[in-house]
Each structure stands twice: as C-alpha cells, then as structure tokens.
Amino acid sequence: MKKFFLCLFLMLGLAARAELQIDVSGAKREPIPVAIPYFISTDSNNKLARQITDVVVADLERSGLFRLVDRDAYIQRFTDIDTKPTFSDWQVINAHALVQGAVSTDPMRGQIQVSFRLWDVFAGTQMEAQVMTTKENMWRKMAHMVADSLYERLTGEKGYFNTAVVFVSETGGQKKRKKRLAIMDQDGENLKYLTDGKWLVMTPRFSPDMKEIAYFSFKNGKPKVYLMDLATNQERELGDFKGMTFAPRFSPDGKKMVLSLEKGGNTEIYIYDLNSKNMTQLTNHPAIDTSPTFSPDGKRVVFSSDRSGRQNLYIVPVSGGEPVRISFGEGSYATPVWSPRGDYIAFTKIWKGNFHIGIMRTDGSGERLITSGFLVDSPTWAPNGRTLMFYRKEPYSSWGFGGASSLYSIDITGYNEQKIKTPHDASAPFWSGQL
C-alpha cells in the first residue's frame, strides 16, 4: 500500500511539470511599426503640437529602428490623452506601439507642457507615460527628449536625439576653401557658426560639460590647439608649447586633454592637465603617434601610429607603459574613436585605394567595415554607442568640379546610412553627449 501511494505521489509530481516546449531562434530585423497621431493641442496652438509631433517622428524614423504607420490608416481618433485605446483598431493596422500625446501652452509664463503615453498595442498594456515642461522657445529640445524617452523604452538603449554636433563647414572651390566651425542639433537644425572662416580650422571637439570646444587652427600663422568658450565665443591657446599641437580630445571627466605634439620632427602623444597645466608624455617612439582618444573610463588611450611600418592602432594605459597593437588587418588604420559603451573602437581604414569606416572590439577582434567610399573619414560616436557619424567626400573632376563633402550617420550594423542636412559642405563632425 505504501508503495502504491509512493508511486502515486511520484506520478503527481511528474504530471504537474508536464508542458509542451517550443524553441524559436532568429527574428526579423525590421523597423518597428509605431502609430503616432498628431499630438492633441489643449488650446488652439495646433501648429506647435504638429511641429513637436513631426520632430518626434523624424527622430525615431531616422534611427532606422521605427516606421510610422500611415496616419490615413488610423481608425480610432483621440480627443484627449486619457482615452484608453481600442487596441483592436490598432492591431488591425499592425501598429506594434501607439503614442498618445498632448501639448498645452502657458503664454503668461512662456512655457509649454508636453505629456504622452506609450502603449504596447498587442499586449494591451501601457509602457510609459511622462509629462515635460519647458520654455516655449525650447520646444524642439523637448521634442527630442520625448523621442529619447520613446526610443529608450522601446529599445532598452539610451536615446541620442537631444544632442548636438560640432563640425567644420566648408565653402568655396577646391583652391579657395573656406572652413568655419559650426554647431547644430543632431538633425541639422539650429545651425550656428562659431568662427568667421578667416583661419583654417580642423578637428573640433566638445568638452564633456558642453561649455567649451577644443580645435586645431592656423590662426595668425600659428598652427596649434585652441579652446573656445561656447557661452562667450572667446578663444584661447591651449598652453604655450614649443612645437605644433593638434588632434585634441577631452578626457571623460573634462579635467585633462590628450593630444599630439610635434617637436623636432617627432610626434608623440601627451596628456595635458587643464588645472595644473602639466604636460605628461605618454609615448616615446620615432614614429608618428597621433589621433589619440580616451576610453570611456579614462584609463586608457587608443591612438594611431606608423611604428610598424604603416599606420595601425595601439592602446596604452594613461598611467604609462608599452603600447599594445590591436589592428592587424591589411591597409592602414587611422582616427580611432572609443565607443561610449566601451565595447567598440571605430576607425578609418585605407585599403585597396578606398576609404572605409569600420569598428572592432577593443582587443582588435571582430573587425567589421560598415561603409566605404572615395573618401570617408572622422567617425564619431553618438552617446548611446549605437550610431556613428562621419563625413563623405566626393572626388573632384578633372575640370575642378565635384568634391562635395557631407555628413552621414549610420548604425553599427551597417544599416540605415542617412545624410545629415547642412547648408554647405561639411566635414570633421564630433557628436556631443546628452544635452
């Protein structure tokens, strides 16, 4: 009898865990269809509500990860943000996510308020809801922040829409090229020139706190690194060194800079302390060592050097030591930049007569070229470590025409290459952190 009950007990245990198992591997890689009706205006300011919606939609679509479901297909119409969606109406048009938004203005205070809800249409659940308030003239920034919130909630990654880009704006022909520093939002809006083009400028870089820009200039015939205060547009020389300084970059904490210094025909990497004004030499080799970049934790520097006979990438600790080579492929490697996530290093590669933008892991493995052209150069990372911006230059014809230079963004998967609109030719972009 005991054996019978023991068997019964065992059978009960076994049956309780009985279930069918199915494994699914692989998935589609398509933009997520999102329904975003025009944000509702709680007062008569429909134009502002539509402008904000357009900026949000443009940001999400430009990322390549989302696709707006055609508004003509919408069945349900909202009159306020508190109306719960009829999910079947959105499921039938295959909207995976739905955004409800509303905009209200306070003219007395000069403020606007944006509120939105994000719904998972097929699960029938609310994923996110936020209210934002700001000055009315900052409506575009607020739209970017809404896009960032939607992007983060749907992808799990940080957004990058509330960011800026500093670059070199170029005008004029091949022989009389005028180059000016310019700053704009990542979508090409709010463009502002920082210099007048009188002196040649190159390689602008934001400081981490976005208060300054470091760049290389031939001002007054003295080619060296300068710092510009973005609030006052005042510029100053970075130290007083014998030799030419160039390729500057700020450390992640903003307290130091890494740059190249050319002295007596030899170019080495130095670290400059902005507070103490001390200069510390990091490399010591007859080769040309240049294009240094800090790692996100500020403990290592990656740079380009031709000490092996042609340009390759090396990593050296900030505390000093022997640089370790990480690139071993064919061609020459230049302009390395460390991803803000710390997992990849982007670079420019010259190989088989063409330029390429590629990424590799920090140990040099997993090298992958994601775009190429006659001349593509100067990759810079978006703050989420997912998107790169670079510039592409077309060749000049024998008659001197062509040579157009434009900014492009691309996903690290190699997909979604998009041109960034600028009023003139552009080069040498640098992407800011989150504003």
């Binding site: 059978m11 494994d23 699914v24 591997s25 699960a123 029938g124 659940t125 994923m127």
Partner: protein
C-alpha cells in the same frame, strides 16, 4: 582656342579609333561563340548484344502485391488509447475557454486580469487527472473489443491528419503506460507534436518576432515565456518567466511576448491553430506552452 580645337580633334580621333578597333572584335567574338556542330555518322555505330536491354514487364507485376498487405492491419492499433484521453478533458472545458473567443477586444483588455486567475486554476487539474489514468488503464484491459471498436468508430469521424500517424505508431505498441502518454509526463514532452509541427509553429513565431539586432549583448538575451492557450487555439495570456532589470533585455522580452500576440491575431494562420485543430484531444498538454526565444538565428539554447 587652337588648343581646345586640337584637344577636340584628338578626342574625336581617339573615340573613332576605339570604335574602329573594338566593334569588329566584338562582332567577331559573337561569331566565334556559335559552336560548329559535330557530325557523327550513325551508320558506323554498332549496337552490341549487351546494350539490348530486356523488356521490363516482370518488374511491374511484382510490386503491387507488396503494397497492399500492411495497410489494413496497421490502422486500428494507434487509435485505441484515444477513448482513454477524452474523459478528463470534459471537466476542464468550462472555466477557461467560454468567454474569450467572441469578444476579441474585451479579451485583450482582460488578459492581464485573466492571467493570475488561470495561474491559480492550474494546480487543481493535475491531482484530479492523475488517478484517472490508473483507473482507466484497468478499464481498458477489462472492456470488450466491441466497445473499443465502437469508440474507434466515433473517433474516426474526426479528421486524423498524417503527422499524427507517426506519434500513433510510436505509441501503438505500448499499451502498458497510457497514463504517461495522455498526461504528457516530463519524459514524453515531445508529444503530441511531430518534429515538423513543432518546426512549423517555431517558424511562424519567428515570422511574428521583430527584434533589433544591434543591441549590446543580444546573443545572451534568451527569453523564456509561458503562453496559456484556450481550447480554440486563442492565446489567453503570456507570462515572461525570466524578466530582469536590464532595460535592453526587457525590450527583447516584451518583443517576444508581442510576437506571441501578433501570431495569435493572425486568425487561421496562427501557429496555435495547429494545436487546436490537429490535437484537440491532447489539450491538457498544450494548454500551457513553454517557449524560448533566442534572437540569434541558429542560436543555442
């Protein structure tokens, strides 16, 4: 002016010269591509006795009798366990499936409410069903063949698709453990689906799943879910089993959950319809599906 005229003349001469040289060569190549046919005088070929193949009349006579013999004998055997399975299903129908199918919109809203209720109900069914297979096993042994054949006739009226035949053949000879087959004990979790049915369901779910490939660490984000299916093949609820605080994993897990609902919304194309239409008698097994989603194509679980 003279220089430009001279350049123009030189360029014209170069273009005309290239045409003069290359066009004939191009045409010549086309002519060369036409192969000259090889002519064989058939009168000179002699057919030897070895090439005279005998007529294949005797082969046709041999094959038909072999095909006829096994077919009628195999059919009755696999159907025998089915009457054993039908009895526990009747008691489980009422609390789960009735309200959901007609009102799709309401069912979507009530899904979060339905989930905990169904989760509570589940533990009740196994202790009820477990003793019965033991008792029914004895009944199978004690009943007459006539009553079995009668139930077989009743079951025959339902459509029996070909993939089922493989499972039936596997279980046909083993009448000693019908309990394990009917309740799907852990050692027999592959039943009642065939490999092709399982692959079809996985393939349809994959088509419904949309996930971003560029995420950091995507290869480690394997999502485990449990889907609760109604008798009509409609999804009653989905639960993510291994959710964590990682925002990226959360979005992948939610996309997997969304994929199940998207597939459910496809009506007759839903992968879960395969279960309700092809395997209604084993609802007890497939009413809860354990699903694992790996974003990497061909990924290992």
């Amino acid at each position: 002016m003279n220089r430009s005229f001279l350049c123009s003349v030189l360029l014209h001469v170069a273009v005309i010269g290239l045409l003069f040289i290359n066009l004939p060569a191009f045409m010549r190549n086309r002519a060369e591509m036409v192969a000259v046919p090889v002519y064989i005088d058939l009168k000179d070929v002699q057919i030897t006795a070895k090439t005279n193949l005998p007529p294949a009349k005797t082969e046709k006579k041999k094959t038909p009798p072999k095909e006829e013999k096994p077919a009628p004998q195999e059919k009755p055997k696999p159907i025998a366990p089915k009457p054993v399975q039908t009895q526990p299903e009747k008691k489980e129908v009422v609390p789960i499936s009735d309200p959901a199918p007609k009102d799709a919109a309401k069912a979507v809203d009530t899904k979060p409410v339905v989930k905990p209720v169904e989760a509570d109900k589940k533990p009740k069914t196994p202790p009820v069903s477990k003793p019965k297979p033991v008792q029914q096993e004895k009944k199978v042994k004690d009943t007459d063949w006539d009553s079995l054949l009668a139930s077989v006739d009743a079951v025959k009226k339902k459509p029996a698709p070909m993939p089922l035949a493989q499972d039936e053949k596997e279980t046909a000879g083993d009448e000693m453990n019908p309990a394990q087959k009917t309740t799907g004990a852990s050692g027999l979790m592959n039943q009642p689906l065939t490999v092709s049915e399982r692959d079809l369901i996985a393939s349809k779910l994959r088509d419904c799943w949309n996930v971003d490939a560029g995420r950091e660490g995507i290869e480690t984000m394997i999502v485990q879910l449990r889907a609760f299916i109604g008798r009509d093949g409609r999804v009653r609820g989905v639960k993510i089993l291994n959710m964590n605080d990682n925002p990226a994993f959360r979005s992948v897990a939610e996309s997997a959950r969304r994929a199940i609902y998207i597939c459910d919304n496809k009506g007759d194309e839903s992968p879960f319809k395969i279960l309700s239409e092809q395997h209604p008698e084993t609802y007890d097994i497939w009413k809860e599906l354990f699903l694992r989603f790996n974003p990497v194509d061909g990924g290992i679980f």
